[in-house]
């Protein structure tokens, strides 16, 4: 009888451990789910990576925020797109040589958060585009590597003409095809996230490297 009681308590404890552990969801930052695996996938020739955390409020404050919003052509809105959002930058190395970066941003989608990552070379050119998470009936199409491959080779300059509000663009961006016409909102959200991602990388990494403020 005593044994049964102990058994019950242990079972109950296991259950509570489990129940309390269920919803260990991520914070508002956007990290790779499995950095070791993902870095090797985007940069097969890499030998390691270094992670750094930056935010607009720590790197440039309101001035930088206004500059980012102006370049984006849209304001930061909502309660999650704020000046203090932490961004994780993965600096990829091959031996002692820096060979690129991976960076992701969160974006509000039609039915949930979208996590948009890009792998960039040291000049800011897109090597890979990857939607880590998206809640949508059409997510499969937008997460398909075929969709992502359309962005390979593009740079921030190609996004200069993209207006997130209207979804209008010119130049190379006009060649980007939405694989799910039913999910226009999420398609546009992905492009906005990508443009924002590239602007932030320029502000945090490429411009400081070139000595620009």
């Amino acid at each position: 009888m005593k044994g049964m009681s102990c058994y019950r308590i242990v079972l109950a404890t296991l259950l509570v451990f489990f129940v309390m552990a269920i919803p260990a969801l991520a914070a508002v930052g956007c990290d790779l789910n499995d950095p070791d695996r993902d870095v090797a996938r985007f940069f097969p020739d890499s030998s390691g990576y270094k992670t750094s955390y930056v935010s607009i409020d720590k790197r440039g404050g309101d001035t930088m925020l206004k500059r980012v919003e102006k370049r984006l052509g849209d304001r930061f809105h909502g309660i999650y797109e704020t000046i203090d959002v932490p961004y994780t930058i993965y600096e990829i190395r091959k031996g002692t040589q820096k060979i690129g970066y991976i960076h992701g941003v969160n974006q509000k989608g039609a039915y949930g958060g979208i996590q948009v990552f890009v792998a960039l070379d040291t000049t800011g050119r897109i090597r890979s585009f990857y939607i880590q998470k998206m809640t949508s009936q059409w997510a499969k199409k937008l997460r398909d590597p075929k969709f992502g491959r359309q962005f390979v080779g593009l740079t921030l300059t190609d996004f200069d003409s993209y207006d997130p509000a209207s979804g209008k663009a010119s130049g190379k961006l006009t060649e980007i095809r939405n694989p799910a016409s039913e999910a226009e909102q999420d398609f546009r959200a992905s492009l906005r996230a990508l443009k924002k991602n590239l602007i932030l990388m320029d502000e945090f990494v490429y411009s400081p490297e070139k000595g620009r403020p």
Binding site: R8, I9, V10, L11, A12, T13, L14, L15, V16, F17, F18, V19, M20, A21, I22, P23, A24, L25, A26, A27, V28, N33, D34, R37, G78, I79, Y80, E81, N106, Q107, K108, G109, A110, Y111, G112, G113, I114, Q132, K133, M134, T135, S136, Q137, A139, K140, R143
Partner: protein, 393 residues
């Protein structure tokens, strides 16, 4: 006139390196001691808070292995055992019961959550009874759903943050492709509720094509005999009862071994520091035998010499103790993080809880043990024979 404290202080400064090393030893041991005492208290408080925040003291669920709950999370609901909702009416009649709330836990597989997909967990709860179980919930935006059948959802802080949802936004239940409108976002609670999506029970039953529930949360009346109620609940067919009091005791038992081990380490660290104190003071006494002899020829009594040497111990221990406690305060959050990494289960909130009362208690222990350690060197100094010591080399 120079005071005893000033003489003792100057004596300690004569061998700065030795004094400093002894101080560091005392400081480290008091840091460890106060942090561990803080952990002993903080962990229990945090666990109590987590359990209180469950809102109910007893949970009734279908009999079977609790690993089925894990199965539910991994396989999206298949394999889970349900209980009849009518059982709620049966339980609410028990005299010990204050409040009862039925819950349906469901998990749906979202293939687009990361590379291998992920699980989205939903809690079906009654708007009429569940909020009463969680009076400490505060809304960041919006409020509870009003209609038990509404296609609405209330999101925990982290769930909303991850999904970038605000009141008025829509969410999509994976697998089922059912759309729900977000009507409330909770403030952070530091518990599992932060990652939960609450949906009206009837709506979730409809989505999951079931009229059953998985759990019944029971709040026991104040002063009522919860063991008696537990026994009565076991008479219900095919259910098991989870008592959070028992759960707490079991968790405390599980970490008791770890607590004893770390406390032993703290005591060993304290003893080592005290051996350092004895060594430092004794060396200091032996080096000053002639001075002590001269003091005695000038009229100093053994008690005066004893007090002088003891004061040195007091200064060493109290300074080291205060510095160690200050370090413990400064690095409390770091200790918290380290403890969390080591423990198999750590409740939310502050795990290493250090306050002034605990700090003063630790200081008292350090000083008391230090003074005990200082008795022998002080006694030895007090017994020095003046002429012999003056003649000695």
């Amino acid at each position: 006139m120079i005071s005893r404290f000033q003489i003792a202080y100057k004596n300690l400064l004569r061998k700065k390196a030795r004094t400093l090393l002894t101080l560091i030893g005392i400081m480290l041991s008091s840091w460890v001691l106060v942090s561990l005492l803080g952990f002993n208290r903080g962990y229990e408080h945090a666990l109590n808070r987590d359990i209180d925040n469950m809102g109910y003291q007893l949970m009734v669920m279908a009999k079977g292995c609790p690993y089925e709950a894990a199965t539910m999370m991994l396989q999206g609901g298949t394999g889970l055992r349900y209980i009849e909702q009518s059982m709620v009416d049966e339980i609410v009649k028990k005299p010990e019961v204050d409040k009862v709330t039925p819950i349906l836990m469901q998990a749906f597989f979202d293939p687009d959550k990361g590379d291998g997909g992920g699980i989205a967990g939903y809690f079906g709860v009654e708007a009429a009874t569940f909020p009463g179980m969680k009076p400490f919930f505060r809304f960041r935006q919006g409020g509870w759903f009003k209609d038990e059948n509404a296609a609405e959802a209330v999101m925990g802080f982290e769930a909303a943050e991850l999904e970038q949802r605000e009141v008025g936004d829509m969410i999509l239940v994976p697998e089922k492709n059912v759309k729900l409108k977000v009507v409330g976002i909770l403030e952070r609670t530091g518990t599992q509720d932060d990652g939960t999506i609450f949906v009206p029970l009837k709506r979730l039953q409809m989505i999951s094509a079931t009229d059953k529930i998985t759990t019944i949360g029971i709040k026991v009346k104040k002063g009522a005999d919860s063991t008696k109620l537990e026994t009565a609940l076991y008479l219900l067919p095919d259910v098991q009862v989870v008592s959070f009091t028992q759960v707490k005791q079991t968790i405390m038992k599980l970490i008791a071994t770890a607590r004893v081990m770390v406390l032993s380490i703290a005591i060993i660290a304290l003893l080592i520091a005290m051996v350092g104190v004895i060594n430092t003071i004794l060396m200091s006494v032996l080096e000053r035998l002639q001075e002590i002899g001269i003091l005695k020829t000038m009229g100093a009594m053994p008690g005066d010499i004893f007090m002088l040497v003891w004061t040195e111990t007091l200064i060493l221990c109290s300074s080291g103790g205060i510095a160690g406690i200050a370090l413990a305060f400064v690095f409390a959050r770091l200790s918290d993080l380290l403890v969390r990494r080591v423990l198999p289960y750590a409740p939310g909130g502050e795990l290493v809880a250090i306050d002034m009362k605990l700090a003063l208690l630790t200081l008292a222990v350090i000083v008391a043990v230090g003074l005990l350690s200082g008795i022998y060197p002080a006694w030895k100094a007090g017994r020095v024979r003046p002429l012999e010591s003056i003649r000695s080399e």
